[in-house]
């Protein structure tokens, strides 16, 4: 990743009358980075994207996209920016290829290059067999892929994706995530919003957590998780049930908290991980039971998110079912 800020946001505020949608947020997105903006519904994620793409004007504060002020020079920045909105907005009446060619014309892609580029994107997004079909006939996942392809027609340096996988089935979601990763490897800077935390964990280099218009935490997924990790957790699985495993292990590991998940599986929290592992192997030798799996557990990004935001797991479940 480069050290130039592709997006620079400083004390950005957006108010709709009394309602403050963004409350003085500040962050930078670096060249080549895949940056996620996480937050529950209504946190201000889409408002942030709308301001950064010039669809909405900030009430106060400063935002630069590719060095251009969003208040005064956004049209210049847009030449190098692609946007994938939450709702796919391709033209249903046009075919896959026509949609791409139209976007190419709109962004001034030279005629000769336009066709080649459209064919290339159709290939990349696995739409070759449907390139002459009208967009209306595409599945939701394919339409989403076409929306992203359209946003890439003019080879943008920066791509905004607003909730890219919302409403897609498991297969389409996996395929789209793989495509996003591929684009990231190609060096495109990406700014995306999501409330799927496993998605953010998988894709993001860094993420900011936005709650009620304010950024409450920012960092890599690992950094965000480490903010809430208190003690190391190890889960060990034995090949067969061990009688009184919880009590027996506690004698060997008095400083750790032992919890039996079932008769073969134990969760050990706290203590020096190296010492815990050595003790576990020696316990297995003494009791004559083989260890079949040892996992060190970290808090998930979702756990980190819940702790940082103070939201209840029930709210998160509702978010996922949106």
């Amino acid at each position: 990743m480069g050290n130039a800020a592709v997006i620079h946001v400083e004390e950005l505020t957006k108010a709709y009358g009394e309602l403050v949608a963004l409350d003085g947020i500040s962050f930078d997105v670096w060249d080549g980075e895949l940056f996620g903006l996480l937050g529950p519904n209504g946190a201000g994620k889409t408002t942030t994207i709308r301001i950064l793409t010039g669809l909405s004007r900030p009430t106060s504060g400063k935002a630069l996209v590719l060095g251009h002020n969003v208040r005064t020079e956004i049209v210049r920045a847009r030449k190098h920016v692609g946007v994938v909105p939450e709702q796919s907005n391709v033209y249903d009446e046009l075919t896959v290829l026509e949609n791409l060619l139209f976007m190419g014309r709109l962004y001034g892609v030279p005629r000769r290059e336009r066709r080649r580029r459209a064919e290339e994107l159709v290939e990349t997004f696995r739409l070759s067999e449907r390139k002459e079909s009208s967009a209306q006939a595409l599945s939701r996942g394919m339409k989403r892929a076409l929306t992203i392809a359209c946003a890439l027609m003019h080879k943008p340096r920066l791509l905004f994706l607003d909730e890219p996988t919302v409403g897609l089935d498991v297969a389409a979601t996996r395929s789209l995530r793989a495509l996003i990763q591929e684009l990231h490897y190609r060096g495109i800077t990406m700014f995306f919003t999501t409330h799927y935390l496993e998605e953010a964990d998988l894709l993001c280099d860094r993420a900011a957590i936005l709650v009620r218009g304010r950024i409450v935490a920012i960092g890599s997924p690992a950094e965000l998780k480490s903010m809430v990790q208190e003690k190391p957790v190890i889960v060990v699985r034995f090949e067969k049930p061990v009688p009184n495993v919880e009590v027996s292990l506690h004698l060997h590991l008095p400083w750790s908290h032992i919890g039996a998940l079932n008769s073969q599986e134990v969760r050990i929290m706290g203590g020096d991980p190296v010492q815990v592992l050595e003790t576990l192997f020696s316990f297995a030798r003494q009791t004559g039971v083989r260890i079949v799996a040892v996992n060190t557990m970290q808090p998930t990004l979702e756990e980190a998110f819940l702790k940082i935001t103070g939201l209840s797991p029930m709210v998160m479940a509702q978010e996922r079912g949106k």
């Binding site: 793409t53 010039g54 669809l55 909405s56 004007r57 049209v75 210049r76 847009r78 030449k79 920016v81 946007v83 909105p85 709702q87 907005n89 391709v90 033209y91 249903d92 009446e93 046009l94 139209f102 014309r105 709109l106 962004y107 001034g108 359209c150």
Partner: protein, 243 residues
């Protein structure tokens, strides 16, 4: 000032709107079948007076065809979010609005040209082609910008269609399409001066018959004024919709 990017944007949007919406049966039928039905009805009723009605019928065709699909082109795209896609390109918001207006005007030109050429050939009317062309072009611009302005005032397609019908039908009766403005009571005659269709009918009538060449410029001026006003207010309202 309109730059190269804006011009390219306008051409792309107009071309796409033509293919996607205008040159489709619903727009063509509303834009041409409706005026042709009126023309035939008037012709069959009284073929001798038909020449008198011709300017009004051409102006009416221009009005109906320009506004035939603007509600779809603007409000339908607003609802789908595809209008936002255009706003994300490297062109200004006012350019997108202008492109929508020009699409309507171009479709109106095609439809009015068919009706004008057809009826003129049929009744062999003498006319000043240059004057007619000028009046028609400025009428199309005024009607298309009025239609676009009304569309951006509301959300849904049906609301826009309803709102468009009001001035369309009021203008047909008060702008001299079927009934001469000079024969209207004074208050209605004054009111008719606030409608672009009045100047359009007047200008086309002059292009068909009158040697008073200068008067057509007053009609042109009025139509330019209406176009500028509708474009300015429309572009502002359009931009405001996205904030």
């Amino acid at each position: 000032m309109i730059g190269r990017d804006d011009l390219r944007g306008i051409c792309s949007i107009v071309g796409k709107d033509m293919r996607t919406y205008y040159l489709k049966p619903p727009a063509v039928s509303w834009g041409i079948v409706f005026p042709i039905t009126w023309i035939l009805a008037f012709y069959l009723r009284n073929p001798r007076d038909f020449r008198e009605l011709l300017p009004g019928l051409i102006a009416m065709t221009a009005l109906f065809s320009t506004t035939a699909a603007e509600a779809v082109v603007i409000n339908f795209e607003l609802r789908l979010g595809s209008l936002e896609r255009l706003l994300l390109a490297s062109i200004r918001v006012s350019t997108v609005f202008l492109a929508k207006v020009l699409g309507g005007a171009l479709f109106g030109l095609l439809m009015s040209a068919v009706v004008t050429v057809g009826t003129c050939l049929a009744v062999a009317n003498p006319l000043d082609v240059a004057k007619l062309f000028l009046i028609l072009i400025f009428s199309l611009a005024a009607f298309a910008s009025l239609g676009a302005l009304l569309c951006v005032l509301v959300k849904e397609v049906f609301e826009a269609q309803t709102l468009l019908n009001l001035p369309r039908f009021v203008m047909i009766f008060l702008s001299g399409v079927v009934y001469p403005v000079s024969a209207l009571p004074t208050p209605l005659r004054v009111l008719s001066r606030f409608f672009p269709l009045t100047y359009s009918v007047e200008g086309i009538r002059l292009a068909f018959s009158s040697p008073q060449a200068n008067i057509v410029w007053l009609d042109l001026l009025a139509l330019v004024g209406f176009t500028a006003l509708f474009l300015l207010v429309g572009a502002r309202r359009f931009a405001a919709r996205f904030d």
